[in-house]
């Protein structure tokens, strides 16, 4: 007679693969953040977890000197960045193939995540993201909607994460 806050719903949570996009790790000291932002033509939010989008390119602040940039395949961010390298030394590394991205959604998605995420995912504001842990894997968790998440997982960790998700989905489907 357990009565959950988030009702176990008959429709199970969805776990889908997201097609790869361009993914870059940008590292630059706070002093030169503005210069880079200008060069790339998008805001580089200073608060860890905050996101900003401009013409298809999204910037997520992962740390005080670290941003994760995602953009459609073929977008050229390297050239504008290189142009300001002398004034604003930085590191821009292509990591498009380092992680794979899963989309997790559905009414019970918070239960799905609560099975392996120690942090309070329910408290994450929509439109933010966080680098956190899912079981033993380090992941970047994006909250795109109340019941809509993306999870970036290092390629070789993905099978482990997938089989955990499958177990929990089965458990949720069982209604207990």
């Amino acid at each position: 007679m357990t009565n959950q806050k988030h009702h176990f719903d008959a429709s199970p949570v969805l776990v889908e693969d997201v097609v790869p996009a361009l993914r870059l790790s940008l590292r630059v000291k706070p002093a030169h953040r503005a210069t880079l932002a200008q060069a790339l033509g998008l805001d580089l939010p200073a608060r860890v977890g905050a996101r900003a989008v401009a013409n298809g390119t999204e910037a997520l602040c992962l740390g005080p000197d670290e941003w994760l940039l995602t953009a459609p395949e073929g977008t050229d961010l390297a050239s504008p960045a290189r142009a300001v390298y002398a004034d604003a030394p930085h590191s821009l590394v292509d990591i498009s193939d380092r992680e794979v991205t899963l989309r997790l959604s559905g009414p019970a998605v918070l239960d799905l995540l609560a099975a392996c995420c120690p942090r309070n995912v329910a408290a994450m504001p929509v439109g933010t993201a966080a680098r956190t842990v899912f079981d033993s894997a380090t992941v970047v968790l994006w909250r795109d909607g109340p019941a809509d998440f993306r999870m970036d997982v290092w390629r070789s960790f993905a099978p482990h994460v997938r089989s955990l998700l499958a177990q929990v989905r089965q458990e949720i489907a069982a209604g207990l």
Partner: protein
């Protein structure tokens, strides 16, 4: 499982997102070659291992930053956390208890 406040993320988060990184404020000597074997040993191996308030370092997987903390090793409670590079804060009364 401890709760730890990351001074960079300005958020209080579960221990599983952090790794312990040993005693804080043990700066690497500018020129190790000038140190005696004893001084070098002290830097390498000697630790306060305080019973009570302990200055120590942690790293947060979220922002990837190392930071400092003052934690009571008897209660395991964090008295404060602060950014790397900041000077060692004095013991508060609470901490001194």
């Amino acid at each position: 499982m401890l709760l730890i406040h990351c001074p960079y993320c300005e958020d209080t988060l579960p221990e599983l997102e952090f790794t312990y990184a040993g005693e804080a404020h043990i700066a690497r000597p500018a020129d190790p070659s000038t140190l005696s074997d004893e001084e070098w040993r002290d830097f390498l191996f000697i630790r306060t291992n305080a019973r009570g308030p302990h200055y120590e370092r942690w790293r947060h997987v979220g922002c990837g930053r190392f930071f400092n903390a003052l934690r009571d090793t008897v209660s395991d409670r964090f008295l404060m956390t602060y950014k790397a590079g900041l000077p060692r804060p004095p013991l508060t009364n609470e901490a001194a208890e």
